[in-house]
């Protein structure tokens, strides 16, 4: 797990796992389809990423599919880091 994935992983564990929930989250663990994060509570994760990495993820790109694992989220962040740097 690289640094970006580790930051996302740690946020997911802190933000979404209840106290006493000992499920192990890997970079591939399904977050949305696995019932760990739902579309209602996903908003705080999107906002965290936008603040932390100074990017803007449009709502149409913040789909449950793109947010379904730490690995996919990291790929999404990288994509917007690159495109928004280029745009700037």
């Amino acid at each position: 797990m690289d640094e970006l994935m580790k930051v996302i992983h740690d946020y997911v564990v802190k933000e979404y796992l209840e106290e006493g929930d000992d499920r192990v989250i890997t970079e591939m663990t399904p977050l949305i389809t696995g019932g760990i994060v739902d579309s209602f509570s996903m908003v705080s994760l999107k906002r965290f990423l936008e603040r932390k990495y100074s990017i803007r993820i449009p709502d149409e790109d913040a789909t449950p599919d793109e947010f379904d694992s730490v690995q996919r989220i990291a790929a999404l962040v990288r994509r917007f880091q690159q495109s928004q740097q280029v745009g700037a």
Partner: protein, 415 residues
């Protein structure tokens, strides 16, 4: 676009996917009034059978109470059948305002506005009252109608882990820069039957300058010493800024809901809440029935006392029989099975034994948290609960789950 074969196939495929996922819902036809015993036709065309009902929101047993029916008849005769209007055109009768005043008194708030349902109250409130510079911070297990209402509102959305006060405090600190912070919770959570920690929530709201919104649909009329709701139970009467609740459960069970709370917020709903502005007034017959319900529950606590006794008795019976329950004090008693298929099979078997209960599973509850949700009523007599227990024991024995704890049940589901 014509509804051609391609379009039809699109929807048929989607419906088939719902069936394949085991999520296809079917109605069961009741041939009797709502009560502790009901006549049920299921599946469609099957012989009607008599069942003990442990899945209605008829908490106080007033859905078919003779006094309520008589009052509804009188309302029908004196005020007519329908209003053919929204409230602000020509749909407000004297009895609508009477009911709003009575609800205000009962809930201990400043003002009340009726909505066609509590779903509509929750759907309309946030957009009417909050703006882009505000934040809504909701418990993650709030009712779906609150989620929908929040999505219609431009204020920032956030959530906190279910009943986790440390997490809520973190969120309140994070959002100190907002104009308004609103903490949003159910009073009694419909799937788990647990109470919101309202006294702690109110303390945090005072500390961090936030408002508190409570949907008390599963509490109004019976939770608290005199049935005012979760705010009475938690000792915070008068400290909740907004209460939404329903006439569709304990308060007669017909339909209708309300926003009750700070008078300025209620007035904002009267001016701007779209389900109030663009939907018909609650029918006079329902208003008249609800007024009688408030008469009944304001003069005696017998019904809520009996409900409390029934819930305690039922919980004890199930526990002694070896079922795994969600702990709590409300008349919502979830029997935990964890496995979706088992929950469905269990409900079917109960029905065959003459008990009507429903299995709940993902996405209605979290994955791996499937259950049979039982709900008590003041209409239940001890013999109903004793008979229902025998059915539960028989079905539990058939599936080999009596005496199993959470870990064993989960291990069994995975086997």
């Amino acid at each position: 676009m014509a509804f051609n074969d391609n379009v039809r196939n699109t929807f048929e495929t989607e419906l088939e996917a719902i069936r394949a996922a085991g999520l296809f819902k079917q109605e069961r036809y009741l041939h009797s009034p709502q009560f502790s015993e009901i006549e049920v036709e299921f599946p469609a065309g099957a012989t009607v059978r008599r069942c003990i009902n442990v899945c209605a929101n008829n908490y106080l047993g007033l859905s078919s109470h003779p006094d309520v029916i008589a009052a509804a008849h009188a309302g029908l005769d004196s005020r007519g059948y329908g209003m053919s209007s929204v409230r602000f055109i020509c749909g407000t009768q004297d009895i609508h305002r009477q009911l709003e005043t009575r609800l205000t008194d009962f809930l201990g708030t400043e003002d009340t506005l009726l909505f066609p349902s509590c779903m509509d109250a929750n759907g309309g409130f946030f957009e009417a009252c909050l703006k882009e510079q505000d934040v809504m911070i909701a418990d993650r297990l709030v009712h779906a109608s609150i989620v929908d209402g929040m999505r219609l509102c431009k204020a920032m959305q956030d959530t906190y882990k279910h009943s986790d006060m440390n997490h809520l405090e973190e969120k309140l600190i994070e959002h100190q820069d907002k104009r308004v912070r609103m903490i949003i919770t159910d009073g009694v959570f419909s799937m788990d039957g647990d109470f919101a920690k309202l006294s702690e929530i109110v303390a945090l709201a005072e500390k961090y300058d936030a408002m508190v919104f409570v949907d008390d649909s599963h509490a109004t009329g019976f939770i608290g010493r005199t049935g005012r709701g979760t705010h009475e139970h938690c000792g915070v009467l008068g400290k909740i800024d907004v209460i939404t609740t329903t006439l569709g459960k304990a308060l007669g069970g017909a339909s209708g809901g309300c926003v009750s709370g700070r008078k300025e917020l209620v007035e904002m709903c009267r001016q701007r809440a779209r389900p109030y502005l663009f939907s018909n007034a609650v029918a006079p017959v329902i208003v008249a029935g609800a007024l009688k319900v408030l008469d009944l529950i304001s003069t005696s606590t017998d019904r809520r006392d009996k409900l409390e006794w029934n819930a305690k008795y039922w919980r004890g019976l199930l526990k002694d029989a070896g079922f795994d329950l969600k702990e709590g004090e409300s008349p919502i008693v979830p029997v935990m099975l964890y496995d979706a298929k088992l929950a469905q099979d269990f409900a079917t078997d109960l029905f065959n034994e003459g008990v009507y209960a429903v299995g709940f599973f993902f996405p209605v509850v979290a994955k791996g948290q499937a259950r049979i949700r039982t709900q008590l009523s003041a209409a239940h007599e001890k013999h109903h609960l004793d008979a229902a227990l025998e059915a539960f024991k028989k079905v539990g024995g058939k599936h080999g789950i009596l005496g199993l704890g959470k870990k064993e049940l989960i291990a069994r589901a995975g086997a």
